[in-house]
Every structure is written in structure tokens, then in C-alpha cells.
Symmetry: C2
Subunit: 426 residues, 2 copies
């Protein structure tokens, strides 16, 4: 295939006419597809239905320690669920607080708490003239929405193939006292799918923050969310690494079972140093008497341990892999050599990150919508929803069937081509 960037104006015009014809044909089909959000598909939800058989009206509802999960108590979660989440998060049980159904909610609470009362006794962020957060880009839109909502200035940090640009991270964190945090998805990153290298993780742990209340928001959302059996990405234990580096309190780790059991009805957790936990406790015990312990026990009785979780994730992978491969196959077949887009081949997580020709992402998303295919809004993966290159598009292949994914990707590719041709003809 000839690269579009090498084509003459005449060649491009001919190409455009053909693509427009294709577009009209596709539009007439009146398809309706959605690859906007990382929602598990129906087959994945079915995997966890036996979890609803775990309890019935005659079940013993006590924890191993004999606490009744049906009643008040255990603000930090039942012991066996703390252990389960700890094994998934690769930390010790004592460093884990199990919360409600949403790790995003824990992150929001953590930011809000820092705003109102500070971090372990520091000046509340809301009293400071300026608070800044580093945001590796492209990244997770819901992270950026939280910091945006509270007027925290966001600074984009480019993601490379080994993780965020650590020279830049070190520059900001070690020199600017207003930099109070960084959003990270260290494994199978949203949306790039990249896993931070060991060196990157260690450079994080060895930061020398100018601000004592600087914290790493380590959203390990996809910690056991591999797509392939044979390749499992791993990362060093950031909590241990921080300890070794003399920064024991610098990181909050977040995770949940939203994409393991049920989105919205899973359990979430935060892991951090005992000193941070002591401070959290004061607020968490004022905020709530306790989270849903029946659901915590339900998860423990269903998954048992890390082996149970991993076996379950293998089933998810078997469902997700063909969807990812359907997308990747068509992208390769249709776009290789055209010089109008590049993409990552993730080994886990929920997304494929696509970079269209600069200045084309919004046009691609708009064209897809015209065809009935909903994508994540262009720019969403950047702070303030503004991608300076107007290039990145997040593809979420989990919800449609593999056949629908293939169809959706063909529609997507058509729009990528058409937008590129139009751009080149400008």
C-alpha cells in the first residue's frame, strides 16, 4: 500500500471519492455500535453469575473471626477480604483497607480529603494558591475529571513505551512544591496498554519530592487483567520500593474487582503505609460505619484466594482476546504502510490506543458517530479533554461481540482513512 503522505493531489482525490462512496454505503446500513467505554461484555458478566449462588437464606454469614457480616462493624473490611485484595495487589493485608464498590470513589475521597484537611497534617490544598498534578498522557479521563473538578492544575507528561517520561516527572516533582500528585495506571495502562518498566517504577519510588505532601496515585486497575496466558506483565511492588527508597508514605495504591466480578457490584481497596492508614482511619471512620461486608464475604467465598482470582481472569482473557485480535488484525490489514495512524498492541487491560494523523482525531470520532459507531470523545484521554495534537483515540473492544468488533473496526478504519485524506487535501 502506498503511504497517503506520499500520494499526489490527484491520487488523494480519487481515493477520497472511493472512500466517500464506501462511507455512504456504510451510513445507509444504519448500524449502531458502541466502543466508547471499558464495559465488560455479556459473556464476561455471565462468568460471575455463580457468585449469586454463594449465599442463600440458610448461609452462615460470619467471618473467620466470627464477626457477623450482616451487622455494623469492620470499617476497614473483613479480614479474609483484606487478605484476598492484598494478594491481588501484592501487598500485606495490614496495609489494605477494603472499601465499597468503586476504587474511583476512593481516589475521589482521597483528593477531597487532601483538599479539605491536607495530607497527614499538611496545609489543606484548598488553602494553597496553586496545586498541580502530573498527568501521564494519554491517560484515564475519569482521573483527570477529578483533579479538574477541584481546580487542580494538570500538567501533561508524555507516555513512552516504558512508562511516563521520568526525566520530566523528576523535574516537576523534585523542584515544584505545588506539584502534589501524579495519576498512574502502572500496568496495562489506560489507554495505551503499556506496563511501566522496573526502572520506571524504581525511579518513581526514588523521587525526592519538593512537597512533603506529594503522593503517587497508583491506580493498579488492571493488575491481574492479562489478555494472554503466556505473557503476564509484572511490575515491582511500589510500596516496598518506596520504603526502600526512604519514601514509605509516598504512594496510595488502588484496585478493585469491577472488571473481575461485576462492574458496580465488586469490592475496591486502597493500600498504603501504616502511617497513612492511621490518618485515613480518622476520616474513614467518620465517613462511614462500614462498607458492604456481605459483598466482601461473597467475593471471598467465590474466589477463595489469588489462584481463584487468576483462574477467573483466564476466563475473562479467553473472551477478551478474540475481540482485541479482531481489532488489531483489521488495523494491521487496512492501515499498515499508509502512514495515517499508529497503535499499540496491549498484553492486558481494556483498551487499544490509536493515534490518528495529527489534527484528525475529532474528525474520525465525528465521522464514526455519523455511521452509528460511538467512540470515546476525542481529547478525553488528555487533561481538560484537550489533546494538543488532536490525534489520540481510545478504542474499547470489550463490550461488543468479536463479530461486531470486526465490523466496528472496519467502520473506524474507513473514517480514519477519510479524515486523513481530507486533512492532506486541506
Amino acid at each position: 500500500m502506498k503511504a497517503y503522505t506520499k500520494m499526489s493531489r490527484e491520487e488523494l482525490l480519487t481515493l477520497k471519492a472511493g472512500l466517500e462512496e464506501e462511507f455512504r454505503t456504510q451510513e445507509a446500513k444504519g448500524v449502531s455500535l458502541n466502543m466508547a467505554r471499558g464495559k465488560p461484555g455479556a459473556a464476561q458478566l455471565a462468568l460471575s453469575m455463580p457468585m449469586l449462588d454463594v449465599f442463600n437464606s440458610t448461609s452462615d454469614m460470619n467471618t473467620l473471626l466470627g464477626n457477623d457480616t450482616r451487622n455494623y462493624g469492620d470499617w476497614d473490611g473483613i479480614g479474609e477480604c483484606r487478605r484476598l485484595m492484598a494478594s491481588m495487589m501484592e501487598v500485606k493485608k495490614d496495609n489494605v483497607v477494603v472499601c465499597g464498590n468503586s476504587s474511583l470513589n476512593i481516589m475521589y475521597d482521597t483528593i477531597v480529603r487532601s483538599m479539605v484537611v491536607g495530607v497527614n497534617g499538611s496545609t489543606p490544598w484548598c488553602r494553597l494558591e496553586k496545586v498541580k498534578f502530573l498527568c501521564p498522557v494519554p491517560g484515564y479521563d475519569r482521573h483527570f475529571k477529578i483533579t479538574e473538578l477541584f481546580g487542580i492544575e494538570m500538567i501533561s507528561i508524555p507516555m513512552g513505551e516504558s512508562g511516563p517520561d521520568m526525566d520530566l516527572v523528576e523535574h516537576y516533582v523534585n523542584n515544584d512544591e505545588a506539584v502534589k500528585g501524579i495519576w498512574c495506571v502502572p500496568k496495562y495502562s489506560n489507554p495505551t496498554g503499556i506496563t511501566y518498566t522496573d526502572e520506571v517504577v524504581r525511579r518513581f519510588a526514588n523521587l525526592k519530592p519538593r512537597a512533603k505532601d506529594f503522593r503517587i496515585f497508583w491506580d493498579n486497575a488492571y493488575c491481574i487483567h492479562h489478555i494472554y496466558d503466556e505473557i503476564h506483565d509484572t511490575i515491582p511492588n511500589i510500596l516496598e520500593e518506596c520504603e526502600k527508597a526512604g519514601n514509605p508514605d509516598m504512594v496510595y495504591i488502588f484496585a478493585s474487582t469491577s472488571k473481575i466480578s461485576f462492574p458496580g457490584s465488586g469490592v475496591s481497596a486502597i493500600a498504603t503505609s501504616l502511617k497513612n492508614m492511621e490518618y485515613l482511619k480518622k476520616f474513614m471512620t467518620t465517613q462511614i460505619i462500614g462498607h458492604d461486608k456481605i459483598n466482601q464475604l461473597r467475593h471471598v467465598r467465590f474466589f477463595h484466594d489469588i489462584d481463584g482470582l487468576n483462574a477467573h481472569m483466564k476466563k475473562h482473557a479467553d473472551i477478551l482476546r478474540p475481540k482485541f485480535e479482531a481489532v488489531l488484525k483489521i488495523l494491521e490489514e487496512e492501515l499498515t504502510g499508509l502512514d495515517i495512524g499508529s497503535w499499540m498492541k496491549p498484553r492486558g487491560g481494556y483498551f487499544i490506543s490509536f493515534d490518528a494523523m495529527p489534527g484528525c482525531a475529532k474528525a474520525v470520532v465525528a465521522k464514526c458517530e455519523q455511521l452509528g459507531l460511538v467512540l470515546t470523545e476525542a481529547g478525553a484521554t488528555y487533561p481538560y479533554g484537550k489533546d494538543p495534537q488532536d490525534s489520540n483515540i481510545r478504542i474499547a473492544p470489550s463490550f461488543p461481540t468479536p463479530e461486531e468488533m470486526a465490523e466496528a473496526t472496519r467502520m473506524f478504519v474507513l473514517c480514519v482513512k477519510l479524515a486523513a485524506v481530507e486533512k492532506l487535501l486541506q
Copy 2:
């Protein structure tokens, strides 16, 4: 019985010797009982066990509108659960957002949001020199803990038999711009058991707050938590009354099923004006993708509607009534005419509020603890944990059995008597 206050020093000394003998005998028994918190008892928890039969692995998990409760979505709750909670809260479905398992958490979030970003665009409370809250006393300790945690100044408002002292409430709210809120438990109040009269509710609705961002935190925790079949307290609909009075946005109503289904595994809700909800939405949708909708559907499939809820509450009442009556009977038999304590006879809720002779509450609680009976800390029902009279003690009769409650009350009465005698002899 002769009033202790009418006794001579000699009579008191004789009495004291007898009570001390009784105390030693009781102490030797080594009893261990707890009436500190409003925890449902085992028989009550058993009532909701059939809720765990509602779903199994073959269940249809869709809402009436066909949304899959297992997946992401519906930040404000599934329609049928909003309807269920609305019927319980006596408001319209559109005014309700169903949240997670804890109404306390919604209250905390609401306070925190006001601190960081203000109320519908007002100056964030954290930027103000002084923020004050009115606290009807005795009241709910966990309310006071939230406002205390954020440095909000709490002003005690005495509770009378018809509700809070409304002259005082009007005085503060209508004249002091720093007064931003008031904590209310309008029905079967915690701990007095008092239900606000219609006039009190209407005076609340007709407040003319000096502060535009003043809000009533209307914690209708015990809205359907009657103890007797024949007497059900009712209150006017505060949302409607506020609307009529030209204060449509002045109230947030909170409720949950924590003491209907399972504490910790129920559903909670906030009801407020559509304008307030529009503002809440911006924050709630950043905070969380959605709450536990499977649990929402579980509640709907189990309770169906307000009739189902009321029928279930009748069963709770049948279990609670003997416990309340066991306490009240012994208090009456043992303390009537002694002039050393007074108490309320509640028609619903979870508590009996007892006023010991001023200066005796701490001593009573300490003596009870010596006997192995744990009570709510004296002072807990007042802001900052300080009861200026050192008089109020909250009795929570729900957790022990009726027999244990009778025994606990006899121990309590003994300590009330002994503390009074010691006080009078000082």
C-alpha cells in the same frame, strides 16, 4: 418511694451501703452486656435472610427498563429502586438519588462538597473564616463527629417535646450568615425518640436564612421504624413545605435501609430539589460511575413496594417492642418518684434517652462499665462529646435479647441510684 432529694444525710448513707452491697454482688457475677450502639439483634438480621434467595446464577438481572444491573451505568440508581426509596421517604422518584450502603456517607460527602466547592456556586466553606452548624441536643454523635472533623463550629439547640427550640433556631439561622446548616432527625429522633410536630416542621420550612447556602440536613433515619402497630408518628413532607414557603432548595433528606434490611448491606438515598440534584450530579458523576445496582435490584425484588417495606418493619417492631418495654418497665418500677432520673417513652426508632441527675452521667456509665455493661459514652449525644449538664445517657435496647435487656437495665438502675446518692452526699 421517697425521693432521694428529700432524704436526710443518714437516710442516704444507709441507702448507699445497701446499694454498694448490691453493686459488689452484681460485680461478682462477671456479666458482659452491650447497649452502646443501635445495632439490630440477631432475630432482626434473620428477618432479611430470604433476601439472599432473591438471586441465583440463573436470575434475570435487568431493570424494568432493560438495563443490566451487573454492568456500569445509572449513577443515580435504578429506576425501580429510586421509586422504592421515594415511597419510603414520601417524595417523588425524580427527587431521589439512590447511593451506596450508607446514608452517613452521603451526609459526609455533602458536607465535604460544601467545604471544597460550596453549595450551588456559593463560596466554598473552607474559604470562610467561620462556619457554624446548629445541633439539636441530645442528638446523634456521628452527625456531630462529621462537623467537628472539618472544624465547623457547633451550636447546641435544646430539644423539647415537640422538637428543637425553634425560637433559637430561627434566631440563629435568620440572623447569622455563618450558620450554614442544622442536623435534624425529625422522626423518632436519635436519641430522644421525639417526632417533630407539624408546626416545628413548618417553621423549619419557613426559615429565612441569612446565608443563601444554608441547608437543613434532614436525616429521616427512622421514617418507617415504628415500634407499635397502632401508633405511627407522621411528619409533613419537608420538601413540599420548603417549596410552598419559597425555600425549594433548603433541604437535603437522607434515609437508608440499614435498619430495614442489613446494616452495612442496605441501600441509602438522598432526596432534594431538582436544582440541588443538578449540582450534585456534577460531583457524584465524577466521584463514582455508579453504586451497587445488583443490591438495589435485590432490595426491590425482595420488598417490592412501600407495603412490602411496612410489612417487614412490623416484624422488626415485634422483635424490638419487648426490648423497649423491658427497659421502660424496670425504669418505671425502680426509679419512679426517686427524683434522680427521667426518660422518654419512644414510639419508634432505636433509643431510649435517659437523663440522670445532673453531674451523674459519666459516673453512671463508668459504674456500668465496672459491672460489665457497656453504654454509649456519656456526653456522646452532645457536640464535642461534652454534655454541659453531664446528664444524658443513650440506651440502645436493640442488640441484646429481652432477658439480657432486663438484666442490663437492672444493672443500669443500680448505677443510676448509686451515682445519685454519691452526688447528693458530696
